[in-house]
């Protein structure tokens, strides 16, 4: 069994090669594979009908209960014979339908063979998931087959439509199958049917499975894809839409009816949708002019018929349904083939243009007569026997639902007779005002498959009583038969209601044919909405809805993205807060203030923060943000944390200056004016988030149950030989943290410079910076020399465009200002800066040294020194900055790192472990003894590093940007002057 399937797929893979070698005759070779399958199935038939199914099981993914399980019982046998047998004939037919130079024939041959394999696999699969696998394979293959004429737009559309509809159904079915499998505890179909699960979940599962089955079998409301799939080459239509793919849905219904046929959801759904489809599609077929479309709607109608009968859930209906299924395969396939022959021989399928084919193509004509007679249910054809059985089964059941359905089925059968006649008349008969259509006669091998099938239909009628035991083997698995004795298939049951109904159908059909023009008019007049249009509209709505959603949510705007996240966050946390009444949580009472003075900075902070939201100027906003920082620092001070306050003040100041330096290069105002509503919304979102986060922070702190470790800090500080807890914490108790932090600082310093200016820092100052010497780019120097009469440089060396001068020649308050233009200088500022600088440095060193026992520390000291640098830079420009320390920032940072790590390592060398401390009291004359600790050395490293960092920031954000602006100004000026001279 597995080998047969493998053979199909191997043949499919080889097909392109075979087609390249042998042209269209390769189809004959490919036909051998399904032919072999047919032969194999026939060989097994006796045993299978006798009640011993053939099966094989191979574990596939046992973790997921996936099994490669195949099982051939009677139903599978019948379906295999249909799928493989008709597949064989279709492949033979293809060998004459196509020409050798048909584009894409190799692919087509492969896909068609593969499809046959998937179909055989589908009917043999005994595992729900495996069945789904083949199910989807047929979908994909049929997609490729329908889209064969890739150059036709309609063909592409039809293919996409078919795959979309059937994939939707298929996926729904997958859910249903999984639910069934989970409910039954097994995915094996045979086991599932042996012990079918029940309960509401099963009902849902079956409904989902039916969605899949109905969409595959093109039952309303999924029927739209089948007529448009007629874009496919005719052999494909003949195979897919008569014998194979559409039968998959019907097969699934037939397969599951023995287990679930007694459930209302199963019975009523199949009956209702099947009957309605049969009537509606039959009505539509009555007015088609394209022979193929007529057959397509006819097929939809017949599929409805089959679904209704096979899903009805009685034993007799199952028997009749299976008989009808066989009959349908045998009469519908040749009709499609005939249409292909007519199309091929005359170049048209429009029945208004065809005339006189009855005489010019007699073999085709008689084939059609046989097939149409079977379709219309005329004795002694197979279709007649099957239809009689159906009417009989529904009539005997006595169930009112089935009787109502019977009415529908009879109406549908009337239409069937009607469009059968329309087909016969339209394709073959003479029409008064149409000249006989010219014909080139078809090859015998072209007609043979259709004729063979037609004859099979003829034999099938009289032989129906012989086939009865075979089909009954399946029907007997349906337990319920409304208390009737099992019916049997036969051509003649005597004069009874079914025969009367058949006669009624015939009469009605003749009447419809007689008044066919009126019927076509009425059909067009009272047409159902065009399903294709509905589909297009649905797609259109989905796309436009999607566009709107995209436009609303995915604008690329960061505030909106963030807003979405924040709103979700607030909503998600508000729920437990409100539900759990978080405010009732045991927490210490809120202490609103320690001293009323705290209100002043608090009010300032709030006001500044709100104002910052409204500010439009960047600088102003920065200042306001800075105010909140200063306010916080004030709060720290009021709280009794001078260290924190000092550091915060200093940091705020530095950041303010850095901000200003950067903002020079940005537009003065925030760019896009934001809508007021949006701003208010943002304000609300921000406020809500802030409230949430603040309350969480409160509860996190208030939730403390354990004793805080800060109680142990004074002792720890004392042990480390200091009095300032913060400082001791930083450089002693948590010195490891500090190590890490300053390493980060160092790398940040490296990063800032290298990110902003893609050069190595040393390239900026090519001439070595020696104290007292000034290196000035020539152009800038000459520029300032024109404005400054006192400028008389003594060149010491010229490197490229840089002049190095000795500035001591003329002592100045700030030597670097020489490079500044006159209008940028402020003598008062220069004097103040010069005088203040030593004071600031002394202050910084003081802070550094006293840090261990009172307010201060290396970090604060470093920032203070950095502020000194900043003042000199602001007063004297970038050259002043270069001259001030005479050390590169890198050197300072490196020294700082070396000192801290050195101290740390010294602890290991001289003491017990890394960072172990030591102390030494230095006695100097005239001074109090200085208490020196290893922590002081450590702190000194921090000091150096911070100074280096600030210097680095000033180098890059200050003088670096200065240089850049100067260069731009020169570059901007040069072309202007050229213009003037030109």
């Amino acid at each position: 069994m597995v080998w047969l399937l493998t053979a199909h797929f191997a043949a499919a893979a080889l097909a392109p090669l075979l087609v390249r070698w042998w042209g269209r005759n390769a189809f004959l070779a490919l036909a051998l594979v399904p032919a072999a399958t047919t032969g194999w199935a026939l060989a097994q038939a006796l045993g299978v009908v006798a009640g011993t199914p053939v099966g094989v099981r191979i574990p596939w993914a046992p973790e997921y209960h996936l099994t490669l399980a195949f099982r051939m019982d009677t139903l599978s046998l019948v379906m295999t014979l249909i799928a493989a047998g008709i597949g064989t004939l279709i492949l033979v037919y293809c060998a004459r339908y196509f020409t050798d130079d048909e584009p894409g024939l190799g692919r087509f041959a492969g896909v068609l063979t593969g499809f046959a394999g998937a179909m055989v696999g589908l009917v043999l699969a005994d595992d729900l998931i495996q069945l789904y696998v083949y199910w989807e394979l047929t979908t994909v293959f049929s997609y490729l087959l329908i889209g064969h004429y890739t150059e036709r737009r309609d063909s592409r559309r039809a293919a996409a439509l078919a795959i979309n509809v059937t994939t939707l159904g298929g996926l729904a079915m997958l859910v249903g199958l999984i639910m069934l499998g989970e409910a039954a505890g097994t995915y094996l179909i045979s086991e599932l049917l042996a012990d079918p699960p029940g309960g509401p979940l099963t009902t849902v599962a079956l409904a989902l499975v039916l969605v899949g089955a109905l969409s595959k079998s093109a039952i309303l409301p999924f029927s739209l894809w089948l007529p448009s799939a007629m874009q496919a080459p005719t052999p494909v239509s003949g195979y897919l839409h008569a014998a194979a793919m559409v039968k998959a849905g019907v097969y699934l219904v037939a397969r599951l009816t023995p287990g679930f046929g007694d459930l209302a959801v199963w019975q009523y759904t199949t009956l209702a949708f099947g009957t309605v489809t049969m009537v509606a599609a039959g009505w539509k077929a009555l007015r088609q002019n394209d022979l193929k479309l007529l057959l397509a709607y006819g097929t939809v109608s017949q599929l409805g018929f089959l679904t209704a009968v096979l899903g009805a859930g009685t034993r007799d209906a199952a028997l009749a349904g299976l008989a009808m299924l066989c009959a349908h395969a045998v009469f519908k396939a040749p009709l499609f083939l005939v249409v292909g022959i007519i199309d091929h021989s005359t170049g048209t399928r429009d029945l208004r243009e065809l005339s006189g084919l009855r005489r010019s193509m007699p073999a085709v004509f008689w084939t059609s007569v046989l097939a149409l007679a079977s379709m219309a249910g005329l004795p002694p054809m197979a279709g007649f026997a099957a239809k009689e059985a159906v009417f009989g089964a529904f009539e005997h059941s006595g169930s009112p639902v089935l009787l109502v359905a019977l009415v529908g089925l009879v109406v549908g059968s009337v239409f069937t007779v009607g469009y059968s006649l329309r087909f016969l008349w339209g394709a073959f008969f003479d029409k008064p005002d149409v000249p006989p259509t010219p014909v080139h006669p078809p090859a015998p091998l072209f007609v043979a498959p259709a004729l063979l099938l037609g004859l099979l239909g003829l034999v099938g009628g009289p032989a129906s009583s012989l086939l009865d035991p075979v089909l009954a083997a399946y029907a007997d698995t349906v337990p319920w038969n409304a208390g009737n004795d099992p019916a049997h298939l036969a051509l003649w049951h005597g004069f009874n209601l079914p025969l009367l109904l058949s006669a009624l159908c015939l009469a009605g059909g003749l009447a419809l044919f007689r008044w066919r023009t009126a019927v076509a008019w009425a059909g067009a007049r009272f047409a159902l909405p065009d399903a294709a249009a509905v589909y297009r509209r649905i797609v259109y709505y989905i796309v436009s809805f999607a566009t709107q959603v995209t436009g609303a949510t995915q604008r690329g705007s960061l505030p909106i993205y963030l807003g979405t996240i924040l709103v979700t966050l607030v909503a998600a946390s508000a729920l437990p807060i409100i539900q759990g009444r978080l405010w009732t949580l045991e927490a210490p009472p809120v202490r609103w203030w320690d001293t009323p003075v705290q209100f002043i900075p608090a009010a300032v902070i709030v006001a500044a923060a709100l104002w910052a939201l409204m500010a439009r100027g960047r600088l102003f906003a920065v200042v306001l943000a800075g105010m909140t920082g200063y306010g916080t620092a004030t709060l720290f001070a009021l709280q009794g944390a001078p260290d924190l306050a000092l550091t915060q003040f200093l940091v705020e100041t530095v950041s303010l200056v850095v901000f200003v330096l950067v903002l020079r290069r940005l537009p003065p105002r925030f760019s896009t004016p934001v809508l007021r509503t949006r701003r208010v919304l943002n304000l609300l979102i921000g406020a809500a988030t802030g409230l949430l986060v603040a309350s969480m922070a409160y509860f996190a702190l208030a939730g403390r149950r354990a004793e805080t470790i800060s109680g142990g800090y004074p002792a720890a500080a004392e042990e480390a030989g200091g009095h300032n807890i913060i400082s001791v914490l930083l450089v002693d108790v948590r010195a490891w943290d500090t190590m890490g932090e300053i390493s980060v600082l160092a790398s940040v310093a490296a990063g800032v410079a290298s990110l902003l200016f893609v050069r190595r820092r040393t390239r900026r100052l090519r001439a070595p910076a020696v104290p007292g010497r000034l290196s000035v780019p020539v152009s800038s120097a000459t520029g300032s020399a024109q404005t400054d009469g006192e400028w008389s440089p003594l060149p010491l060396g010229v490197a490229e465009n840089i002049v190095t001068v000795r500035a001591e020649a003329k002592p100045l308050w700030l030597p670097g200002v020489l490079a500044l233009s006159q209008e940028r200088r402020s003598i008062i500022f220069e004097v103040v800066a010069r005088l203040l600088f030593p004071v600031i440095l002394v202050l910084s060193v003081f802070l550094l040294v006293t840090g261990h026992s009172s307010v201060g520390g290396g970090f604060a000291g470093g920032i203070v020194a950095g502020l000194g640098l900043m003042v000199r830079y602001l007063a004297g420009g970038r050259h002043e900055l270069y001259l001030t320390l005479g050390l590169q920032p890198g050197v300072l940072i490196g020294l700082g790192m070396t000192i801290t790590t050195g101290t740390a390592l010294a602890g290991a060398v001289f003491g017990t472990e890394i960072l172990a401390g030591g102390a030494y009291d230095l006695h100097l004359p005239f001074m109090e003894p200085v208490h020196l600790t290893s922590a002081l050395a450590f702190d000194f490293g921090v000091y150096m590093l911070v100074v280096g960092l600030i210097q680095d920031i000033l180098y890059s954000l200050g003088s670096g940007i200065d240089e850049q602006m100067e260069r731009e100004r020169q570059a901007g000026r040069a072309p202007q002057s050229e213009e003037v001279t030109a």
Partner: protein
Amino acid sequence: MIPLGLPEPTAPALTTQAPDLDYWLLSPLLVVFAVGVVGVLVEAFVDRRHRRLTQLVLALAGVGAAFVLTLLQVGSLPEQGAGVGVAFATVAVDRPTLFFQGTILVLAFISLLLIAENRDGESAFAAQAAAVPGSEEERAHVLAGSQHTEVYPLVMFAVLGMQLFPASNDFLTMFIALEVMSLPLYLLCGLARRRRLFSQEAAVKYFLLGAFSSAFFLFGIAMVYGYAGSVHFADVYAAVGAGGAGVIEDGEPLLLIGMALIGVGLLFKVGAVPFHNWKPDVYQGAPTPITALMASCTLVAAFGALLRVFYVAFGASVWEWRPMLWVVAILTMVLAAVIAVTQRDIKRLLAYSSVVHAGFVLTAVVAASADGLAGAMFYLAAYGFTTIGAFAVVTLVRAPEGGAEAGDLAQWAGLARTSPFLAGALGLFLLAFAGIPLTSGFIGKFAVFEAAVAAGATPLVVVGVLSSAVTAFFYVRIIVLMFFAEPAETAPRVLRPGGLTGTVIGVGIAATVLLGVFPGPVLDNLLPQPSAEAAVGTQPSGAGIVPEDMFVR
């Protein structure tokens, strides 16, 4: 600097002994970390000309070695129990961990190949990231053929974070892993060679939103700590099971808020709606090899962490988090599928598809069962291979002029006529995304849906299927476009896949087909064996407790 509450009120106890670490079980992490560090040194000391090769060989060797070590560790897990906790049980080494780490390492290896691909001396990354886009400086660097070989150590650090993320066994370790993973990625996203401003914008967005979500994650940890008195998953689990750790009376809201906040942090990384907004922008803006890395490895790592948090730490409060994940999963599947329909850019489309897939995996998470875990694991691995392959194809199709990738789908029309192999490969990947049988995508989808149905989440599965249908619609549309439509007037320039990219696509195809046709070996060997409990009878999902024996506690 909020002092942590320690039980003893006196000075903190000093640890004088170095912790005893199981270096063997940590070795995959250590190898990757070491390679990252050595990579930094290579940048400093190796000559510019040899850097790329050195870095590439180092990185591949490191990831490969780490993978081999991970495989070897499967054998050294104890027979009893799920695995062992390492380094004071902050890192869990159990079967899920090893599977996720192994998957991440393999996917990272493939992504590295894609990252290393050079065409005419051009990598996918900016010649000089610090140069202003369009400036003279940039031109000079492009002409000089500069390359950022720092990419490799950055990727290694990101991979380190990804390895640690699903392995972390307490919230603080997890947070560190999250940051180690994210920070290099933020940077890598901004390094695209073309459309650099776009790329930088993407990086900034990713960074800002990521920073917020990390902060929420941290807040969540604080809340959970307040409830459970510990950040360790096992303790949290015990506390939840006992109805609180006695730290705070009636602290349930704290747990719920914590859960929500931690959920936000994790779901952001996963890219679930409504935290998905960054994904399309970032996937589109980032250099495509990095997008491939993020779409595969990051997703695997993030889901690994998500599963561990919700299955282990919050394993006893399934009833509390399940509704939240239900809503998120439904929103994710529906909204992303609907929006994806309108996308015109292939990378954006793949981004939305990644969001939808995250939704599918969430349905498995909701199951809260061994099946759910196994399904999610398989799904992630399968999706990872497929998505890297798809992005590899994207790198090859370039705009006719300028050499940028042809993102616009209109340009892909008729691609099958000029490059049938490439179009076929992408077609296969798209079919796998759609979950067509015989591709890995189908088995994955089946696995997660089965788990969800078994856990009673059928409505979720129905929604999932509907959105699958919608996504299938646009995958099919692309296939139709490539195979059947007339070629666009401005046909794209299709590069011949080089050895590296070719390998990536080949591996993608092989994995997609093999995992689809023979999923057995993977499903049987790498996932946790069905436990004794599962063998006795599947646990009713009504218990509200995740089965215990899948993870180390």
